[in-house]
Symmetry: C2
Amino acid sequence: MTGIDAIRAAAARARGIRRTPLLEAAGLDRIAGRRVLVKAESLQTTGSFKARGAWAAVSALPERTAGVLAYSSGNHAQGVAWAASAHGVPSVILMPSDAPAAKVAGTRALGGEVVLYDRAGEDRDALGARLAAERGLTLIPPFDHPEVIAGQGTTGLELAEQAGAAGVAAAEVLVPCGGGGLSAGIALALEAEAPALRVRTVEPAGFDDMARSLASGRRERNAASTGSLCDAILTPAPGALTVPVLSRLALPGLAVSDAEALRAMEAAFRHLKIVLEPGGAVALAAALFRPEAVAGEAVIVLATGGNVDPAMFSRALAGQARDG
Amino acid sequence: MTGIDAIRAAAARARGIRRTPLLEAAGLDRIAGRRVLVKAESLQTTGSFKARGAWAAVSALPERTAGVLAYSSGNHAQGVAWAASAHGVPSVILMPSDAPAAKVAGTRALGGEVVLYDRAGEDRDALGARLAAERGLTLIPPFDHPEVIAGQGTTGLELAEQAGAAGVAAAEVLVPCGGGGLSAGIALALEAEAPALRVRTVEPAGFDDMARSLASGRRERNAASTGSLCDAILTPAPGALTVPVLSRLALPGLAVSDAEALRAMEAAFRHLKIVLEPGGAVALAAALFRPEAVAGEAVIVLATGGNVDPAMFSRALAGQARDG
């Protein structure tokens, strides 16, 4: 199981990973009614935190590796393609054919071989197993993998230090959550480094499998696999490795609507000058628009990704312009 | 005259100033045909580098100050309003009535008292002089002021360190230029800390008063005062303090079109996930779309501001979408 030693080891190997800033703006504090600190992982190499876990997993492979394989709607894909290229390792990425064009193009540009499949009609796992067997590829799963969780946990090491420097010793830490790899990694890092910073997962309404799993004590599935704009964090069910960690360490999970995620994208544009995708903005949405659900004088938010098509981003900006 | 000692002193006083990241993306390197390093001052408090000079100037005032006055189309306004509020000093900001709504709103939200004037019909200087006399305000000019130049120069101290850490010892440093305060401050800092990093100003085509001044050896004026989208860097003429510094230290100036600035905004959105305004994107535009005008294996770019209205930002994204 991943622990603080694995996270520290991943941080020591993470040559290609950027230390992302912890941003603030008075305008966000006004909306939320408390101090808001935003860890901008959208500024990470490849545009999302996924580069961290991918780097950790690829850098832990034996030297002679035929290649790696990943399933992803986009951000994990780009992280794995980038980390593999940086290590001189071929990568094959299975992506749903309805993944955002920006993510498909981004993955190819980073050196990944993209294989598209039909999310509804094709058996992704069977396709992946066949490719892996034929070409001797090693699967790098998006969240349920000790090294991936350790890599995501390096975010928490930085956060503990940055929050301390900003004078925030105790706060809720809201994390956009798909399978829970980032949330679990951060929770483990904070347990060791800043135990009064407590993780809360944030999911799209209707896809709150993690929140329900934490409430019931067992892995709950989502009823649907599509139907939210937050493509980056739509997983069928949370991880086998992540649920036990978060059951032990996390506060109850939150969920927000797509409309709230879009409004949070506009707020991040206006006040922080950063680009977020819908799934990367759900934690900021919870901090801004569900203040009564959060406790404390300050709240910390993970802004996890910015790989969004221009049309979707303009839609977020236009929606807010209409509201005034 | 501002020198490296004044810049170091400004850095030592700059409690409220954020150290902004030096970002890179493989996609930008591909467009430019060389390595591109982007100092993202758009992520500075208030959304532009102007916070640096404003903080330096306000923090150098005597303790008992009735208030400060600034003329600005927006970014300097926000910087002064913010720095004054942080020091408990009232601020009055004269803004043209055609300034972007985001900048007017931003200035007010930061505690500045905004007085609008008609850019074509009213005498801004007379209005400012009257207000200053009536209320005992101290003028903080946008660029032609030793402390303002020193404050902007703190960007150069960070850049020298960050470029060294990134392995770039020699490169051209492209800087969006209005009156030349940032360019001069950075040039002075780099002269002391990293003399093989050489500043080049970048201006909007048709408003290249600094490039012409550097070429002729005297302060040249622009023919027009409006007619570019790059509102942040439309100055009638360069500074009396900045031209001598840049004549001694800078390489010849560059200019780009509004269309190129918009394309650079789209590239920054796509590859770096940051929000730039047109005037903040001109140096990136030169790096990406005028590669033949630049020398060296790497180029450093200042991305100076992100205070842009949603409609203008969407226009930049849509333009690029049409081109494919």
